[in-house]
Amino acid sequence: FLLPAPLCLLTMLLPPLSPGDPISPAEPISQAYSLALYMQKNTSTLLQTYLQYQGSPFSDPGFSAPELQLSSLPPAAVSFKTWHALDDAERLGRAQGAFQALSQHLQLVGDDQSDLNPASPILLAQLGAARLRAQGLLGNMVAIMTALGLPIPPEEDTLGLVAFGASAFERKCRGYVVTREYGHWTDRAVRDLALLKAKYPG
């Protein structure tokens, strides 16, 4: 089932659990899974809205530039064999790292777009909502890792110094990669969490 949006936002506001609490991982996994499913519904809308505001070639029908990548953002694509062989710590660690980077990048893209397209509140609102959801899922991941007794990696500044001085076109491209990878990582998180859900039934 799907959690309604306010409840999803509520979950991310939950205080982080302390490592020593003996708690079943099933509940945070279930919460995270519900949120990921909810996010999955909106990722394609976000990407389409984003592209629509950037002008040609981004707004052209069927636009796709898979070769565009950001070094600061880990790609979600992974071979199935590798993905399946991941243990819980790796699986959750990679997802946690990705959503940490995504939440920072979505902040950057939001800033870029408020500069390039200040008169498009729909796009800015969707980018803001996506960032909040990424942060919410990140919190859920931390809760799962805590419940499984896994070490929590420290927060990293994934953007570093490269964020400024980009041209308008580069910023448009950057936003495209971030919104695209946000969708890919959400898809992967749904698969990750489904696997964990099966592994740790309630």
């Binding site: 950037q54 002008g55 040609s56 070639p57 981004f58 052209d60 530039a65 070769e67 565009l68 500069d115 390039l116 397209n117 200040p118 008169a119 041209s167 308008a168 076109f169 448009k172 491209c173």
Partner: protein, 972 residues
């Protein structure tokens, strides 16, 4: 050492002085080579800045020189630009020169070299070029950075309509380069394996967020940039400044296009600069700016308005005298002394300074008109608005301008006001309708509401004063509250003068006088009125004498009985008018009465006219009554319509008759009806003729007729024809015969009925009493005086075998099977009940028998079926009927017993019952032959006796009986 240094200095000075001398003489050319060439790059401006010196010049020496500059791109041999720069060169001067590249400088390496030549008149020819400086390589450092490819210029701001060159550079060699400007593919020129470029001429503004440029190639390596195209900054239009208070100058302009681009270029700025005072002010608004007037009473102002954005500056200039740019402030308006026809308007204009003379325009709006007045004032103005209409709302407004140096009018300032009421200026238009009834008259007075220009205010009531001209009495005004437009007065046969006035809050109108004469008036012939496109055209004969005018009256709505009386007053010299009204409807008859008004205000009916605004075909046909029907003719008659229901003037009637044969009767003509049927039509030209005799008809024929009126616009609707059948020519004769006959029969029947009891007693009593029978007396008296009535007690029964005797000697034939069965059982009773007396004689002998005529069914038939004593001749119908009934009963018994008794046996029984000697059982045959003769006496009684010519008793008596049966069969 010091000496060496000294000599060296001396040598230098000498050398320099020599050179100086030489230069002054300029006797020979000098090798003045540009040195220290330095090239800097400004990528944003796409500019190369060159600076160099000419070291060879002497101190304070000035020399005109020309420099040739060559610029190569990508490699030195590819010279793309050669330019010459002439200038006067001073000693130790650093020379500058700039070059703007079309191609972004990031796109390619550029090389620059320079050489010079003296171009001074003091230096004699020939003059030689110096040597070239060495090539200076200019390269935008690391334009690609860490990227594999890039498009330049990056985020460039350009003006709409300008030309732009875009380049695409990559680390790898380029193949199949495609570049797109906002999705449109551009023509790309490859400059070298790693650089491509294309030109965009007259670049267009697409959107505020910039235009994307995007390039791709093989191998896949995409790059792009955003070109920000700004609209062209326009020169401000309609720039002007004015003051209202001599403290502030308010300057306005039309800014034209918005050149702002999102985050790239803000809205263009506007700056006011005043040259006399040298002051400057940055304006905060797009299209206006206030300038504070200094206290030193500066008169002349020279303003420059500068519009500026990142790409361009535009300016406009105005020079003016402050006193010529005065627009007065909006006046404040008041009204005073408002009366019915006048009002005074006052206004005040503040702070125009120095009590300047103002020209003011006053506009008065009212009654749909605008009246303009002018006034010249200082500060306060006053104007008398006169000739106003009473009780009318007006709007007055004023604006002012400087009278000496008119610049602009001030804003309008206005107020509404309403003039006071005045007494009504005209008498109401009054007319009357008089209805006489039983010596009393009901006079309805009508008046029209006064027009606004005559009412001069709200009419509150009407005063009606009735003055009896025959019996002077006190006059009592009767007020009738407005908005009533009529009143009813009950008057006697005296003459009355009626005064009507209209009253508002201020006063009374002049009186309208009308006289109701005691004379009932004359009757006039009604005439038809002419109708024109404008309406009803009425004309009348001019009246000589004391006519003061005419009145035409009519009802606007005669069709629904409400009348809605209308009238029109006309002058004494008028003898015609055209009456039109929106209320007039087609097919409605309007009556117009024309009155002459005498000097005594008495109205006399002169003429009466009637007509239709448009005649319409009749909607109904008259109800026709047919009468006087004979075999050769009948009469049709119908009644007139009510005039009100006529939709046009009836000119006559058409009588349609469907003929028996194809021929029409004389006087009729063939006509086709609207349903395409053909019939005969007779036209009655006189509308007053409402009977018609249809003649020359054939007896016993069906005729169909139909009557419809015809008018100038057609006839009535096609209704159903009425059928009439002419009677037979001899039918009246038949009636003369049949009627009396029927009457007689009925009479007889009544008599018969009344005497039925007597008849019954006489003719067919239920139980005939032989002693009472008249037959007896007849027999006695005429034929056989010895004959007596047989008495039962006289009979000596021979043998009686009674099996079942329910009612005396009578045996009922109930008609049921059981009774017949009994009958069958009792058969011997009939057979042996034959007289067995051998020696009987005289009156004694008799035959005891069971008479079948006493059959219940026969007696129940209730008719004269008493066979044994037929009272009348057998030919009479009554007897026939009874016989028939009897036979029916017999047959019925016969039929009923058929199933059980053989027919022959039954017949035999019956015959034997009739005492036939030739039938029956031989054993029971009488031994004495005369017995049958004796018995035949009774037989006579039974059959047809009456002492008439009866056949002698013989053996054929049975035949007689059979004959009777045959007769019954025959009747049956």
């Amino acid at each position: 050492m010091a000496l060496f240094a000294f000599f060296q200095t001396i040598l230098l000075l000498v050398s320099l002085s020599l050179r100086t001398c030489q230069s002054e003489v300029l006797s020979e050319p000098l090798p003045l080579t540009p040195e220290s060439l330095d090239v800097s790059i400004n990528s944003a401006q796409r500019c190369l800045h060159l600076q160099w010196r000419v070291h060879s010049l002497a101190y304070h020496q000035e020399l005109k020189m020309v420099f040739q500059i060559e610029i190569s791109r990508i490699n030195t041999s590819n010279v793309i630009w050669v330019d010459y720069y002439s200038t006067t060169v001073k000693w130790n001067q650093v020379l500058h020169w700039s070059w703007e590249s079309e191609l972004p400088l990031e796109c390619a390496t550029h090389f620059v070299r320079i050489r010079s030549r003296v171009d001074d008149a003091r230096v004699p020819e020939p003059r030689f070029w110096s040597n070239w400086s060495s090539w200076k390589e200019v390269n935008e450092q690391n334009s690609l950075g860490h990227k594999a490819s890039s498009v330049f210029p990056v985020d460039k701001l350009v003006e709409e309509g300008s030309n732009v060159t875009i380049c695409y550079i990559s680390r790898s060699h380029q193949n199949n380069v495609s570049c797109y400007l906002d999705g449109v593919r551009m023509h790309v020129e490859q400059l070298d394996p790693n650089v491509s470029a294309f030109h965009v001429n007259n670049v267009a503004f697409v959107r505020e967020t910039g235009t994307n440029i995007f390039c791709e190639m093989d191998p896949k390596d995409d790059a792009g940039t955003v070109l920000f195209v700004s609209k062209v900054l326009e020169e401000p239009k309609d720039f002007s400044c004015e003051t209202q208070d001599f403290k502030t100058l308010h300057c306005t302009w039309d800014p034209g296009s918005d050149t702002s681009l999102v985050r790239k270029q803000p809205y263009q700025s506007y700056t006011l600069f005043e040259s006399f005072s040298g002051e400057k002010r940055l304006c905060e608004h797009k299209n206006w700016c206030d300038w504070q007037i200094a206290q030193d009473s500066q008169e002349m102002y020279n303003f420059t308005l500068v519009a500026e954005n990142y790409l361009r500056k535009r300016s406009v200039n105005i020079l003016f005298n402050l006193t010529h740019r005065v627009r007065p402030m909006t006046p404040k308006v008041f009204f005073k002394n408002i009366s019915a026809t006048n009002a005074t308007m006052t206004w005040r204009v503040h702070s125009t300074g120095n009590h300047r003379t103002l020209l003011c325009q006053i506009e008065l709006h009212g009654e749909g008109k605008v009246i303009q007045h002018n006034a010249s004032i200082k500060v306060n103005g006053e104007y008398l608005l006169s000739e106003l209409e009473p009780d009318t709302q007006y709007m007055a407004r004023v604006h002012c301008g400087d009278a000496n140096h008119f610049w602009k009018w001030s804003e309008w300032s206005g107020e509404n006001f309403t003039t006071l009421e005045a007494a009504p200026s005209e008498a109401p238009d009054v007319w009357r309708d008089v209805k006489s009834e039983l010596g009393n008259r009901t006079v309805t007075l009508f008046w029209k509401p006064l027009s606004k220009s005559h009412a001069n205010g709200k009419i509150r009531f009407y005063n009606v004063i009735v003055e009896n001209l025959d019996k002077p009495s006190e006059l009592e005004p009767v007020p009738i509250p407005a908005p009533a437009n009529h009143t009813k007065l009950a008057l006697d046969q005296c003459s009355y003068r009626i005064h009507v006035t209209a009253n508002n809050s201020v006063g009374t109108s002049p009186a309208s006088v009308i006289v109701i004469s005691g004379d009932p008036g004359n009757q006039v012939e009604e005439e038809r009125v002419n109708v024109t496109a404008d309406g009803f055209s009425l004309s009348w004969k001019p009246q000589s004498g004391d006519v003061t005018g005419y009145v035409v009256e009519w009802c606007d709505r005669p069709q629904d009985g409400s009348c809605d009386l209308q009238w029109e007053n006309l002058g004494p010299n008028t003898t015609s008018t055209v009456i039109s009204s929106d209320a007039f409807r087609p097919g409605v008859r309007y009556n117009f009465r024309i009155y002459g008004i005498s000097t005594k205000r008495i109205a006399y009916l002169l003429e009466q006219k009637t007509g239709y605004s448009q005649e319409l075909a009749p909607l109904v046909n008259p109800q026709v009554v047919m009468s006087n029907l004979t075999s050769h003719s009948f009469t049709l008659s119908w009644k007139d319509y009510p005039t009100e229901t006529q939709r046009s003037f009836i000119r006559g009637y058409h009588v349609y008759l469907k003929p028996k044969e194809g021929q029409c009767h004389p006087g009729f003509e063939k006509a086709a009806l609207s349903d395409n049927s053909v019939c005969c039509k007779y036209k009655i030209d006189k509308p007053e003729q409402k009977t018609f005799v249809v003649e020359n008809l054939q007896p016993e024929s069906i005729y169909e007729f139909f009557v419809t009126p015809f008018t100038s616009v057609g006839e009535g609707p096609l209704d159903a024809f009425t059928k009439v059948t002419t009677p037979d020519e001899h039918s009246h004769l038949l009636i003369r015969i049949i009627l009396p006959t029927v009457f007689c029969v009925v009479l007889i029947m009544i008599v018969c009925y009344l005497n039925s009891q007597w008849m019954k007693e006489k003719c067919y009593p239920d139980i005939p009493d032989p002693y009472k029978s008249s037959v007896l007396s007849l027999i006695k008296s005429k034929e056989n005086p010895h004959l007596t009535i047989m008495s039962v007690k006289d009979c000596i029964p021979d043998a009686i075998e009674v099996i079942n005797k329910p009612e005396g000697s009578k045996i009922q034939f109930s008609g049921t099977r059981n009774s017949l069965t009994e009958t069958e059982i009792t058969k011997p009773a009939y057979l042996y009940l034959l007289p067995a007396e051998k020696n009987y004689s005289g009156p004694g002998p008799c035959i005891c028998f069971e008479n079948f005529t006493y059959n219940q069914a026969a007696s129940n038939s209730g008719s004269c079926g008493h066979v044994p004593v037929p009272p009348t001749a057998p030919s009479q119908r009554g007897l026939l009927t009874s016989l028939e009934n009897l036979l029916k009963a017999l047959e019925k018994n016969y039929m009923n017993s058929q199933g059980e008794i053989p027919a022959g046996e039954t017949t035999l029984n019956y015959v034997s019952q009739l005492a036939s000697p030739m039938s029956g059982d031989k054993d029971s045959l009488p031994t004495d032959p005369p017995v049958p003769a004796l018995c035949s006496e009774y037989k006579m009684q039974m059959a047809i006796p009456l002492g008439l010519a009866s056949p002698p008793l013989s053996e054929n008596s049975s035949v007689s009986s059979v004959t009777l049966l045959d007769q019954g069969d025959h009747h049956h």
